[in-house]
Symmetry: C2
Subunit: 215 residues, 2 copies
Amino acid sequence: MVVKVYGAPFPHPKRVLVCLAEKEIEFEMIFVDLFKQEHHTPKFLKLQPFRYVPIIQDGDYTLYESRAIIRYYAKKYRSQGTDLLGKTMEEEGLVNQWLEVEATRFHPPVFHLVTQIMFGPEFGIERSEKVVKENEEALGKVLDVYEDRLSKSKYLAGDFFSLADLAHLPFGENLVGPCGKEYMIKERKHVSAWWDDISSRPSWKKVNEACKTLE
Amino acid sequence: MVVKVYGAPFPHPKRVLVCLAEKEIEFEMIFVDLFKQEHHTPKFLKLQPFRYVPIIQDGDYTLYESRAIIRYYAKKYRSQGTDLLGKTMEEEGLVNQWLEVEATRFHPPVFHLVTQIMFGPEFGIERSEKVVKENEEALGKVLDVYEDRLSKSKYLAGDFFSLADLAHLPFGENLVGPCGKEYMIKERKHVSAWWDDISSRPSWKKVNEACKTLE
């Protein structure tokens, strides 16, 4: 069964796509043109009442929220492709812990930087140097904790690549690329090695190639 | 084995406590006095580098982030106490979806309201009527989606009580109580019935009783 992914070549849908690629699951992208407000149509709202992408349809099963979707596929196809949950219940606990850290500590400041620097002009948001500075400082403190953690284990949840690492890829890419904040990764030795490792995975390259056809 | 929960009678630790109560797991609360900055000590930072409670210690296993901890115990003791994950992988997917909704759609506006109305004076934050109004409006839109959802199923993830419902209890209680925003729940028929149901569970009463001894 080919999984339908409703989305656009934006970070949250890409979090799902890279998981599907790691799990060797075939997917088809259903393009939702956010600029044409296609996520506000009655048809879309039936699938996702909060008006966000991505959504997946897998047969008659529908699921939204990218981090819920990746948990579902990591479990459903546990023995296919890369194991993204660790080997024990305790390792899976740490995967979930670092997924929460990604969502609640890493994501908010990066999202503010992306909004201010990348999308501000497009959506008429006036750039505030104060907001940029505050979020850069907040992110720096989070990355200091990552540096310490990654000096002790190769990946966030332990010595195995997992959902917790994978979840950082889409917004991490915006941070080091279009946001011009690569130095925040590079100046931290272990974070930098971790980033080089996870961002050079074939799954991530495959997703970026697939997204190019949608841009 | 008695689970040690580092925390205080605050919402995030209470999310863990109510899960442990539902799973009939014995716990011991290790009080962390946040007003005395006990979460900034080197001993604490070894357990939780981001300086937040709760943390659990279960034998030699340490875990933080409340939503990761509740996922861990719901799975580890699946057949003990209340089943909080649903019966199938698809139901568990929906539990995770609504847990993400709680964390990323419900929690942020409620947190702002709690900060402004309950803790603003204590921490020297000047109350802004604009911030209160914006977050009340944002929360209203989220609760409209809940109302529609809860008109179709008794609980958020389906016709079974789960982690997704339980996770709303601590901040929900602040919203209807000290924040004075009970009307937001009461004016929505299905949300109101759902709230009455989940907030009258014996587990929640037990947690509130246990916390009284710490206040």
